[in-house]
Symmetry: D2
Subunit: 447 residues, 4 copies
């Protein structure tokens, strides 16, 4: 069987991920993502109304024109989880292919939302749910399996294509977590089996976001423990307390909800993306409380904050957007005094999030914290663990899968240099079985 | 009552801590520490055989000649815990004063060890045990109380002098930990009482080691959780595994011992200070297993490592000295290939310790890790939480104690600038009720 | 004579500098500055139309209400140079005092501009020119002298008040430069005389912006040398070249103009502040070429860029605003493609400026460089030296002046900790003769 | 013609550089270097008495066993300049090949010294001098040319092999300097010619030490200007002054000698490598003063320092070894008080050197500066420019040479990632015409 991999997008950067695997006549596409920072660097850009070619020129979505060089038909479009850099380009690009989007339930719901927001194209795409552990027939010779993984959102999987030449494992994005708070642990047993059954793994594509980080990314349960420790230590505080985190990080939001109750505060989710992600999770019945209060529209948020002030802010934990200090997010607006939530000296603000390391974010977050401190707030920051593997996770994945070929992704050369060192320890060599690729390349695996 | 505080040592630096409080005719001395880095910067210095005046000139021990300016008698010498920067100068200085050393049981045992090692002076000092929660009469008018605190060693307390003018709280060193793994949580209830009873707190002396750190130092239970997560993730590894941590950090050592058993490895403590601290803790019956194997002398260590290699290193977890990459510590020697422990590719080394932030340590640690990696070892580093308060801990202590006067300690001006900001939030002002002092100063609190 | 110093503003921060010295009944005010970052952190704030009390509340201008506690009349308002953090509050505050603004010619012209822009108050202030080296009678007993210093703008001085109790030297802002490219070297000879004549120096107020920088700030002639080296190395490049620097840094602009000619390019100054500062300097006949082209208004800038593109950008060096990556500055707009200047691959952009170290600036500058690189531009950055003393400059100033009392300014405690160490080397002690003050304090020097 | 390049050493690291180019039957070897840090990480290693195979195992010298896979005879061994990482393995490896060492005069003398120090092997190697600008016949079809370049030592060249298939340019190490203080500017004119004559450049091997540095490495004349500015600013100081720099940096040493005279101090070079490199330069008549005093042996150094103290240290400028804080170098020993040079408060120490960025060096330098400061010395550091190209230098080299193939060297993948970005700007792609190689690889250029 002839197998080629087109590294369409996300191979020199984080963002706008897209990969196509051609196996003879069948093509499976993994992810169609958006690089939001390429959008935000411009002023006043509304992606919803933009044409895909303009977004490609901006570097915001994958340049899928390379697909015409692959001689086959797209059978499925498979986003691995619901983050924007994996699903954000679906409304712009997916309709060009006559293929369903196949994903886990939570991811499918988020794709549905994305498509609903789209203004430019009339998008009519078939959405198919498939769960971790399940398989799907791609062709006579190829099966696709979803292996459960753990990430900073729920319902993440790594798709595996079982071909006559061996398995192709698409490893974006994950952390190696045996105690992920919500959902099942990463299925290392299955990865080890795949590495040893049949012809083993022909090719492994890896998430190198943290490839230069030493050691091991801790489990979500460690972040939960620290969050618990922090919030309990503030149990006696009888003033305002506000928390922020990634809206899509349902496990973290769930911990925040739970601990808020434990210290006697009513949690309220505020902000557009809080409502979107948590609302979606609630509808899917993902072990969240039934009756979470959440508001996404400006007016409803304002009313909720007003009620909090009236009823006594010591009784509430608003969980809000703005963890990166985004200038227009709710927490930043609260810091700027633009809402009717007033901070008093000593009020607590919990950032259950790290700063995504980029000077723009660092500048925004600095401004946001400075505004909050000018109002007397006390900051508890970086109560968080990453959603991506560090070097020892990469080491363990290579040990489990023993792939014949490896393709690191999701970073520029500097960012993935640590991955190359890790792979070298197993004897992989750049240019032989370790492929440093770029956007728009095609790698021929078998002939 | 006339009250003066002499900030003898440790007020411009970490190390060689010493403070004297004169209340009319009675003086209580807190800590007599050693600044080891001032010793190590020189070649081949043996402190055991050196005269105190030479050590004072080197900046290694407190310059206690300022004590002659205090018009009173020393009633007690009170080290707050057993770290060298708090007890290391006792053999050199304590015998000049006709006063007992009063401390918690574990600290007393470590002081006893220190004195036994002393070669220069014939030291004959009265050692008195006093437990957290207990009180001791200093004079007709003054009582001393030990309040239980949490730190990176066990049996740490903050002494409080109850005087007619209010309480003097000596706050070095601590973290605000409600779940410290070994021992009781920090006694915040008692601190809050002290802040509110009688005349409240006249003066508070604070540990500013981490005063420029934002947020809250996590509980030891968070480090334990991460350590557990890490070690369990390596449960299936059937090669060598080595751990290192602070020998005096009995709670951490205890977690390492426990998790080693949990993953089916026999823990063995190796290295001179491992034997010293853990041996002392075992003798005191501090919730450690009865039968820990530990070796401190070179020959016994060599034999133990030989046995590990013979019996199969996959069955053992050597817990060794060398967490800062000290050039002569066991782990560094293992990395350099000077012992009979052989690393294979993929063997694991766990640094359950942070790097104490100083370029010398960073250079040493880098060399040590480089040696280990040259032998194929995989590094898990920084599985640790600090033993010192961060800014929000300082905030909570000021809120609990409401002291009239504050003296930050244990840092130079840059290091404690964050503390001044925190204290400013309560209205304290430098030069009025917030004293930026130096070694060798006397601060008059009442006349 | 009774002498007090009110440290009104700029003593915990860079920005909104203001200091008042009362000598019996006479008061001299040094600087009335604006902290622009306190303005920019809010959205859409127009300082020109705001009331001073609101600006005080924002932390943007000095809170001069403390002045009512000084029992005397303001005789003169003396800005030391023309930067906004030294003159920006004059239109808001100066009219409250019945006193002239006294400054060097270039500074006076910039004050005049500031006042002309003011929309809120009708400002009618007497502006008096006084040159470096000249003296002015403040009262029977007090003379004011201007000593020539070197800074990152021209015509900077340090005012000295000669009182019967000794001299008061106001040392903000300066670098110790013996070869400043434009203007005279720093007058160290005069400082040394002042330190030794009569009663010497009673008090010295020092610019601590760079107090944590080791070594010596290099001379402007070193930056000029590096700029020359860089531009000459690009002599053969026949595409676009753009430079940016601080508009008020007349010496640097002058070097850029000169080297542009040397490599056969016509320099054009573009941007509002380029026109303002260089235009002011040209009117004063400050050794700049007669016929510099400069445009400050949007339409004129656009036309100029259009002409550059038409005539061939290889013949021009636009010198533009935007060295900090300010989002609305010209260079950033050029990077965003909002002007008709097109970058080709390989075009050169020279940042003859450092990043003022603050995450906001770093974020802005990162964005600006990213935009420029996306268009193919090559970046030459950090061709610059600071305008402020580093530690060895502080050391030399203390050696020259031998002041009895020292007041460090222009930084928070962390920022000036390096100054305290330097002063300690001469025996100064915090709280005795080294005053760590805050905004709104009064320090009594003599009674 | 069949052309292969063996990247023997120095392709994943700085140090132990060695490259072999086979052109049909003829092989030319560029550099045979030593990685000193791999030696120093062990205790008490004397390379002079060690066998080459042991040094290869330590990673200290190139593993030249790969040479047996090249089917040809070594015609010449060509070190490009005299630094240890380019010549240090010659005594261990060169005698295996029946070929002369061909280099510029200064380099040849340093190779001669290296060989004389060798204890293990009887080394008998033919040393041939060839100057920049000259050519040498390698075979009927191949000429070797030396192109003059500029680096942090004198007499550096880039060898070029003119083959029927185009030129092979070996580009290690250099800076692009048009005003290098000593010697001629870099010969960019010749590089541009080589890029355009005949078949142009077949392959370019580039020095990527600074490939992640933005902008342009300044000229040595900029460092000289800053050194002049610093030393002149200290002209009036009448106490001790000590300088340190790279001993092999003859241009810098020359500037120090000159400026010492200018401020009325007698310069004396002290330390073993100071004597070695400057002595060698003096013998070659390289524009250094005739009568420089220099001492390399311990006793002579001690006597010299004693005389300095007796005659008045205000009259001297000792220029000493120890710029990286090496624990046994002279400056560190002076800091530790092990010599008879006494520092007084205010004495000046000038580090005309950067810290080579590695934690070990940073730790050593920190210790050294701390020792000096404990004695009252004032530190002027980092008066230096690098000897290696930054990104814009790489850009200009690629523009000049327009090579068909590029091989970046002298860094690991992270270190050279910036080079890949720069090369991408010209359309080079990893794996096609941009070769990311490792030690021990062979790259076939033509068949």
């Amino acid at each position: 069987m002839e197998i080629e991999i087109a590294t369409v997008g996300g191979y020199e950067e984080v963002g706008r991920q897209m990969t196509a695997v051609r196996m003879d006549d069948e093509i499976v596409v993994f992810d169609m993502g958006l690089n939001l920072s390429q959008v935000l660097i411009h002023d006043n850009v509304q992606t919803e109304t933009m044409h895909s070619l303009d977004l490609i020129d901006m570097g915001a979505i994958p340049d899928d024109r390379i697909m015409s060089e692959l001689d086959g038909e797209v059978t499925a479009i498979v986003p691995t989880h619901g983050h924007l850099d994996h699903i954000g380009a679906i409304p712009k690009l997916a309709h060009r292919y006559d293929a369903p989007v196949v994903a886990t339930p939570f991811t499918i719901e988020l794709v549905r939302d994305q498509i609903a927001d789209e203004d430019k194209f009339d998008v009519d795409i078939d959405l198919q749910v498939m769960n971790a552990g399940e398989q799907m027939r791609i062709s006579d010779q190829v099966q696709m399996e979803f292996v459960n993984v753990t990430h900073s959102t729920i319902d993440a999987i790594n798709p595996v294509l079982h071909t006559p030449e061996g398995a192709i494992v698409y490893g974006l994005d994950k952390r190696l977590d045996h105690d992920p708070v919500l959902g099942d642990p990463i299925d290392m047993k299955r990865f080890r089996e795949i590495g040893r059954e049949g012809d083993g793994v022909l090719c492994y594509i890896e998430d190198c976001t943290n490839a230069n980080q030493k050691g091991r990314t801790p489990s979500e349960s460690v972040a939960r423990k620290e969050l618990h420790d922090t919030m309990l230590s503030l149990e006696d505080y009888d003033g305002g307390m506000v928390a922020t985190t990634f809206a899509s990080h349902i496990a973290r939001v769930s911990s925040l909800l739970e601990f808020a109750e434990e210290i006697g505060r009513e949690p309220i989710l505020l902000g557009r993306s809080m409502e979107k992600y948590t609302g979606t999770a609630t509808n899917l019945d993902v072990a969240l409380p039934d009756n979470i209060e959440m508001y996404g529209h400006r007016r409803a948020i304002d009313q909720s904050l007003e009620r909090i002030m009236e009823d006594g802010k010591e009784n509430f934990l608003p969980i809000v957007t703005g963890h990166q200090g985004e200038p227009r997010a709710l927490l930043t607006r609260m810091g700027r005094g633009e809402t009717n939530y007033d901070f008093d000296n000593g009020d607590k603000v919990i950032f259950s999030a790290g700063i995504i390391p980029e000077p723009t974010n660092e500048g925004n977050r600095y401004q946001s914290e400075r505004l909050l401190k000018m109002q007397g707030a006390r900051i508890y920051d970086d109560i968080h663990v990453s959603g991506h593997l560090s070097q020892e996770g990469h080491y363990q994945m290579l040990e489990a899968l023993q792939p014949q070929q490896v393709i690191p992704a999701h970073q520029d050369l500097k960012g993935l240099s640590g991955y190359v060192n890790t792979a070298n320890a197993f004897g992989y060599e750049v240019g032989r079985d370790l492929h440093l690729t770029r956007n728009g390349n095609i790698i021929q695996l078998t002939e």
